[in-house]
Subunit: 344 residues, 2 copies
């Protein structure tokens, strides 16, 4: 990961690059007409994720249009439950559905078919890699075990992951056993992604918010560390970005204890506070409010400047603090990129 000319890899190796490299979470998404066109003919969402030709195409679209510094694999965090033997389907306009899972059955989760079930995702990366400009970094990703587990236990998305939290308190051994199985499958999945060309791996813990410290340690820190350890034990050395969204003051322990190389910050993170708790020189990614990108105008310029100023002294990858929304005009993305690149 050293001696690279790719700005994003330089930052992750500890260099401060100005202007910072930039990409956007969910940059392959519905705000792009060319994505909607592919999506319309892709049919079922899971099949779409498992179609390397279509997934590679939408992964590349935002690179062609905006020249982002990174392409991120098009896939979904709920492919892992499928690999573990669970049923997952998407209801149009509503989101994911899963057969609700009783954590006491965690030994039924099978971790030996990860590579066969998720092989098409590796194939997507293999196809994207040679199509990227020399300076563009390819990022692979997976959901963190806690976030994936909340969907498995709840049977889909939920307002506050309440049933998952209750299960974690009520059946700690089974719950932690389930998280270990998910972590092991996820580690193997990420190793496969690195072998298929991913130069960076990102772990999304989208539901890390609101967890009391003992639960945060059990369900966020430990399983994330388990993934990082296993990925490293497999000889994979690419940088790993962790994103414990909403973790607040628990970012401090997350950054120091999980082994991730960099952290992605959410919109609510106060930069002065983050500077005070993150290890010296640890790269950060983030964390513009997607609502400011949607709003555009002066607010977007001011917020872009504020983020740039906040991180001037630290290796920084510019990104949003959450995914780009479908209603964002493409012109606002151009405005954002102009503003960042003017800083060069």
């Amino acid at each position: 990961m050293t001696h690279s000319n790719k700005p994003l890899l330089k930052v992750l190796a500890g260099e401060t690059v100005s202007p910072p490299p930039v990409w956007l979470m969910r940059q392959a998404g519905r705000y792009l007409a060319e994505y909607r066109e592919v999506r319309a003919r892709a049919g079922d969402f899971i099949k779409f994720c498992f179609s390397p030709d279509l997934a590679a195409e939408v992964t590349l679209q935002p690179i062609r249009r905006f020249g982002f510094d990174a392409a991120i694999l098009f896939a979904d965090i709920l492919l892992i439950p499928i690999a573990l033997g669970r049923k997952v389907w998407f209801v149009a306009g509503e989101g994911p559905r899963l057969e609700p899972f009783d954590v006491r059955q965690f030994e039924d989760l099978t971790t030996d078919t990860v590579r066969s079930v998720l092989g098409p995702v590796g194939e997507t990366l293999t196809r994207v890699k040679p199509e990227l400009p020399d300076e563009t970094t390819l990022i692979g990703f997976a959901g963190a075990p806690w976030t994936v587990a909340t969907y498995m236990v709840e049977g889909g998305g939920s307002k506050d992951r309440f049933s998952a939290r209750v299960a974690a308190w009520q059946h700690p051994e089974a719950f932690d056993g389930m998280l270990e199985r998910i972590a092991d499958a996820t580690a193997e999945y990420l190793v496969m992604q690195a072998e298929s060309g991913a130069e960076v791996l990102k772990i999304f813990d989208s539901w890390a918010e609101g967890l009391p410290e003992p639960l945060f340690e059990r369900v966020v820190i430990n399983p994330t560390k388990r993934i990082v350890d296993r990925v490293r034990a497999a000889g994979v050395t690419v940088p790993i970005i962790g994103f414990p969204r909403g973790a607040g003051s628990m970012y401090a322990r997350y950054a120091r204890e999980t082994g991730v190389n960099a952290v992605a910050l959410d919109t609510g993170m106060d930069p002065a506070y983050a500077q005070s708790i993150l290890p010296d020189g640890m790269p950060v990614q983030g964390h513009l409010d997607p609502a400011a990108l949607r709003a555009g105008g002066d607010a977007l310029d001011r917020e872009t400047d504020r983020i740039l100023d906040s991180w001037a002294g630290r290796p920084h990858i510019f990104n949003l603090g959450h995914g780009i929304t479908p209603d964002v005009p493409v012109d606002h993305v151009h405005q954002l990129l102009r503003r960042i690149r003017e800083r060069g």
Copy 2:
């Protein structure tokens, strides 16, 4: 607020009381059979809130059953939009609905009918007060302007208050003007509650999470400070508890800049961090995970002990970090109270 024999008022006056006084957010709620019985004959939810006899009855129920140290007014944070001239209704099983509000019309919001529209809420407090045991404190409350505004702009609850955030970035003057109107109405409402017997006032900012610092300052700190200043200017001296749920590291500025006397903490707040940023001696309230209360058993005992230990050196009111859920067995509440009171 001094010279009181009420444990909760002692804590809010800066005393450390052991065992700490305890009450539970949403303690007048569906987990109680006697509440469900009243709710079933109350009909429309808004009418229920505006029926002093029924609202007083459910406010008192948890005091009779559990002997909590505080009774909290039964009402809803969305009564304020009604007082401001907006339509609000509840859809069974779904939640609140409001006519979506364009913030640019903020001058249409009328603040001169607060006392006439919300008079029945004062009447609820007047009826509850003489029925309370001598040692029980009566708490009034309101939603914070940002939280109330999110419902007004979104037309109801929403996953991430995205439209409200976009409006706040896009129309800053109108949005802040709207927040000022809501703050002024809320201040008058809280003054009326104090005049009607409330001995403590609590401001619920349930959606304070995920806000970038400039937005947090504009939509949370400034309007909350405006309320506190106006309540004080009216001569009301009762303690005010602020609850900026999910504010993370922004709790530091909230506690120092809004003028609230105490802060309620959410489930995700790390006690060691909170101790380091809160003003010396500022009372705190919270912050057991409602999922641990639902789980019961050893997890509940351990988490109860952890919260008690965390706050042993500071004036502390025991509470949840979020409202009690309808599925909590009453026995778990008894278990919690035994565990706390054994500490005496």
